[in-house]
Symmetry: C2
Subunit: 152 residues, 2 copies
């Protein structure tokens, strides 16, 4: 059974005044960047917990066909269990975490890279004791995820 | 003055037998990945030195609108000074290096992220004593770079 939940991924993050110009985002340490704000993973929903997002590329009217985001899941946290037509590429950057992708479970450590094909049900989680941070690259134009219920 | 040089970026890296399926590339350490080969930066040319490339996403007929590559420049090495219509996103991963982008120079350290707008002349180089490795994300469909000559 699938349920649709509204979430912030498709709200307009873009600043309409932004120009498509070269920009440098200095890493300030602790997986934060100069000029990049920390946002909720999604605006609402009860199907996820303890995640933040930092949109590195995608919030400034860039013409690139992709967006680059950093997500961080606190110990005990997890993302929505969902699927969508667009692909995901995730790259482990901080700590480690688990990825359920299709019927497989992966442990994602530093620089481990996972390509998720279209329509793969997936969920990321952090059962460990330190923050789990990863880069996630997606197409700039993409469909809305559908939240799934496990075992239904 | 601009010169066109053939290079491998537009040779077909794709294995025609590859399917657009979920794939996991485990980081084996030392910035190498299971299942990902090390290639020359470009097939030929005398305008660059001491760079290798590892194509993480883009060599297996993925349907994503972007490719993800890891490049590593040895001490003393440098990439072509070039420009193109497609955007670049580079993220520092290993060591540090320099990026000339437009008229500005940036030092790229771990997780520093640079968005290069279309048609920005650029060159990456490593004047330091350890390898300089970075992720580079580009559109899957992109134009060929034009190699530039400095000061001409």
């Amino acid at each position: 059974m699938k349920t649709k939940l509204p979430h912030c991924d498709f709200n307009k993050h873009k600043n309409p005044k932004s120009k498509n110009i070269t920009r440098f985002y200095k890493h300030k340490g602790n997986f934060t960047w100069q000029g990049i704000k920390t946002e909720k993973y999604k605006a609402e929903g009860i199907d996820w917990a303890d995640i933040i997002r930092r949109v590195l590329i995608g919030g400034h009217n860039e013409s690139a066909k992709f967006h680059l985001r950093y997500f961080e899941i606190a110990p005990g946290g997890y993302s929505s269990f969902e699927k969508h037509k667009h692909e995901h590429v995730v790259v482990g950057i901080r700590g480690k975490g688990n990825v359920l992708s299709g019927k497989k479970n992966y442990e994602l450590n530093f620089l481990d890279t996972l390509y998720m094909a279209p329509n793969t049900p997936h969920q990321l989680s952090n059962p460990f004791n330190e923050p789990f941070g990863f880069l996630c690259i997606v197409n700039a134009k993409r469909d809305k995820p559908r939240v799934l219920r496990k075992g239904v």
